[in-house]
């Protein structure tokens, strides 16, 4: 019985590189190496921040590094502007925060619609701040919109609100005051309920609208409303 040899990995053109390095003076070779390392480190960041599509080192060497990302078939038309990080980065779904947000560095995350979740707020991070709306706060005076679902569903609903309101979809609206833009969208089905003391008084009615507050593409807060 003959043993089949294990499949060979994709050949890398190391022979070409090493032969090229032999004929280049050492000082030049070091400079080229330094440039290559800098490029490899900066390429993903530049692609994310500036929306460029610089090829990665493996792809320049003839190896494919583009993972397959399933298209979001439910998304409506996207507003014009800089492409969001999820659409330009090489991140696979398992690398995404809550399976939805792309890490763009400095503890900042970007949604497919382009919203940024950054450090800030009393809780220390916007993600922690909006997380308050995943559960009721029965003693809180006034209304407290509670989203029914997990964090990923909530982030998707916030993105959907942003897209619908920017696309002037039916039942949506937006207004700007002192640098804050408030977006609202109608979902046509219950997405949460009214909590807080007002919610208790009214028997926790179901909520079908979402409101988000955005400054300079940074999400400040988001919650279901009546």
């Amino acid at each position: 019985m003959t043993r089949r040899a294990p499949p060979r990995p994709t050949p890398v053109r190391t022979d070409t590189i090493s032969s090229a390095l032999r004929i280049i003076p050492p000082r030049w070779a070091l400079a080229i190496l330094a440039v290559a390392i800098s490029y490899a480190l900066l390429q993903p960041t530049l692609n994310q921040w500036l929306g460029w599509r610089l090829p990665s080192i493996p792809s320049l060497l003839g190896q494919s590094s583009q993972p397959h990302v399933a298209p979001d078939s439910e998304s409506p038309a996207k507003p014009p502007g800089k492409p969001p990080a999820n659409e330009t980065s090489n991140a696979s779904p398992k690398d995404l925060k809550f399976g939805f947000l792309t890490d763009i560095g400095r503890d900042r995350f970007q949604s497919p619609a382009g919203l940024i979740y950054a450090p800030g707020s009393e809780e220390g991070h916007r993600l922690k701040h909006i997380e308050r709306h995943l559960k009721n706060d029965p003693k809180r005076p006034g209304p407290h919109g509670v989203f029914e679902g997990d964090m990923q569903d909530f982030l998707k609903a916030i993105d959907e609100t942003y897209r619908l309101a920017r696309g002037h979809a039916k039942g949506s609206k937006q207004s700007t005051e002192a640098g804050s833009t408030v977006y609202e969208a109608q979902f046509g089905k219950p997405i949460g309920f009214l909590g807080g003391t007002l919610g208790a008084q009214r028997g926790h009615p179901k909520l079908q609208r979402m409101r988000i507050v955005v400054r300079n593409e940074n999400i400040i807060t988001g919650f279901p409303i009546q």
Partner: protein, 98 residues
Amino acid sequence: MVLPYLIYVRSCPICGEGLCRVRVCTSDHRLIGCVVCDECETVWKEPEMQEQSANGIDGVTACCPECGMSLWDDACHWADIQEVCLLGWYDRVKVART
């Protein structure tokens, strides 16, 4: 420090969900008060909420109207009843048990 009560002026006219609460900054060794929505973080200079205060240079961070420090810095906190009295704002706030 978590207070057993919550001091607020009114519900937020910007986001409709938050409570406009009294926040104090002590970074300058003085007691500087302002009103901040705990949901959308809009800042007003006084409890009448006539004059909004600008955000930080990033346009996002809620900052002290006087010294410009982030209102989420360690030198800032939600005012207690004594501080609200020192600011002379006690008759303009509501107090709710939490």
